[in-house]
Assembly symmetry: C2
Homo-oligomer: 120 residues x 2
DNA sequence: CCGTATCCTAGCAGATACTG
DNA sequence: CAGTATCTGCTAGGATACGG
């Protein structure tokens, strides 16, 4: 492991992070993860049903993106009719802990909703 | 404080969280926060310059959204030419700690980038 | 300097239809 | 069942111009 400058490492952290963020920030991503956290393992249409009104197209896209980010793993059973099982990875489970902290932070402050603008 | 069911509280946490998330997930939001964390206080065009190629329109919108979320506070000095200073609130500083954890999580795993699909 | 008002465009969500 | 292919509408974001 080379000796990187701290600034460079900070820069790197930011880049890598915003990369994942772009996926997580998209519509449905978090809801999909939430479902998988709870269910431990789920199939495509099962997921689709429990998500309400998401389309196959979008669900498929989100799953692929998150798989590429190493958040979801996929297991194909070569049967007829086809069976595919999705689950969260260890990486995603670690993320879940932090997301939970985020959730607690969010309610702890409960959006003040008042303007904080001050005129001097 | 009433006695809420845990499920209800969980539901609430999720709602409040996704609310903030909608703001944070938008383009530029995190970068703006990052700049303010470092600078402690910044003016509009100063911010605009250091962000690269953001437009006034968008910067203005992001700042307003985050102000409404209680993440940013604004101070107007009634001078000519006008001076306005932005800074992060205590709420945002707490958030910063968690975001930092997120950053560390992101590099710790460094997107594997390989397909995790397994055929059984 | 600090923004708002307009207009324009790309990209994404969603609907529908169809395959292995 | 588990997806792709294709099309459409919408809206976030960017460029530009202007006003307090």
């Amino acid at each position: 492991m080379e000796n990187k400058g701290i600034a460079e490492e900070e820069e790197n952290k930011c880049q890598v992070f915003s990369h994942v963020w772009e996926v997580l920030g998209k519509r449905w991503s978090l809801l999909i993860l939430k479902n998988l956290y709870e269910k431990e393992t789920a199939r495509f249409n099962e997921l689709k049903r429990s998500l309400g009104k998401i389309s196959s197209t979008v669900l498929s896209a989100r799953l692929l993106e998150m798989e590429r980010e190493g958040l979801i793993s996929k297991r194909i059973f070569p049967e007829v009719p086809p069976r595919v099982e999705y689950r969260v990875t260890a990486r995603a489970r670690e993320l879940g802990i932090i997301l939970n902290e985020l959730g607690e932070w969010a309610v702890r402050w409960k959006s003040p909703k008042m303007a904080s603008t001050k005129v001097q």
